[in-house]
């Protein structure tokens, strides 16, 4: 009996983990994207969770899921590979306990970080309004420029 559980339990855990489709983003040691997260504070009635799904984008504009970062803290540093495009999908999930409902909205961004540049992202969900702003910091001058955010539909295959 014990032997049976020892086989079934690890199998079950691995299956559930594998089938969820969510994996932790293998964050690069070189961090170039500083993310500040602001969401409505949890209440007795509702809560908001924020995360980002990160995809690699190839020269044909096809995406390959690389992983997810759950924003558990007000700020987090990410390493997004420079010199190539990544597709970032910021996901906000709102749960309402009273109505027993959840809602998910997404804000997608196609980002191609320049080598040596740093980026700041403000990820916000306040009063049912959500937004993402990303600014670019030049390495030499430190000059900050807000980037016009574009979605995957602006990707051009080459």
């Amino acid at each position: 009996m014990l032997f049976r559980y020892s086989i079934v339990l690890p199998l079950l855990i691995s299956l559930i983990g594998g089938c969820s489709g969510i994996k932790t983003y293998p964050n690069s040691p070189i961090k170039n994207l500083h993310v500040e997260v602001e969401t409505d504070a949890d209440s007795l009635f509702s809560s908001v969770r924020a995360a980002v799904d990160i995809y690699r984008v190839d020269s044909y504009c096809k995406t390959e899921y690389e992983g997810t970062v759950q924003f558990k803290y007000p700020s987090v540093d990410l390493g997004i590979p420079p010199g190539r495009s990544s597709y970032l999908v910021f996901v906000y999930t709102r749960s309402s306990f009273l109505s027993n409902s959840t809602g998910t909205v997404r804000y997608d961004v196609l980002l191609t970080p320049h080598p040596a540049y740093k980026y700041n992202a403000k990820v916000r969900y306040v009063d049912n309004i959500y937004n993402v702003e990303i600014s670019e910091i030049q390495p030499d001058s430190g000059k900050i420029r807000e980037i016009e955010l574009k979605g995957l539909n602006t990707c051009h295959a080459y």
Binding site: R94, S99, S101, V105, V126, N128, I129, Y130, G151
Partner: protein, 170 residues
Amino acid sequence: MQNSVLVSVILLSILISGCAGKMPQTAEEFRKVLPDAFMGKKEEFEVDRAYMDIAKTFQTMAPRCLDVKIKTTSQTYQSYQVIVAQYNPTVIVTKDKAELHVQKRHESGVMAVYKEPEKGHYLIVADVTPLGKNRSKIVMYRPSIGHDVMVKAIKGWATGKNIGCPDLTQ
């Protein structure tokens, strides 16, 4: 919540149509009908923001935030309902007027009582006109009940404060 929104939408559709069996087919018809319609509201306000800045924000944010398909489900012990709605924004900018039209078309779960425009029934029309270098006037034709988050977002685009997308899953 979802049921109240659904009832509001159906009531609004019927009431805007003036019970005459006709729904506004253009933004201009919507502007004319809405102020006198029950649950319709014409709202005017001025903001300290340049006209072209507001127009540009409309052009950026409307396609990003309002060209979306929203699926909502509601479940009780007796029923299970799925509603799929496609929102369709249109932004028209000229030298002296910017217009934002938001239309909504139910793809499933709600039956259209009257003939709808191709992009769905008109939900909100917002007109912006310049008053000066950094001052503009906004006229919104909108429901008086419901869609508060969308109204708040559009006002944010006009004022330049708390610019973002409305969570339409509410």
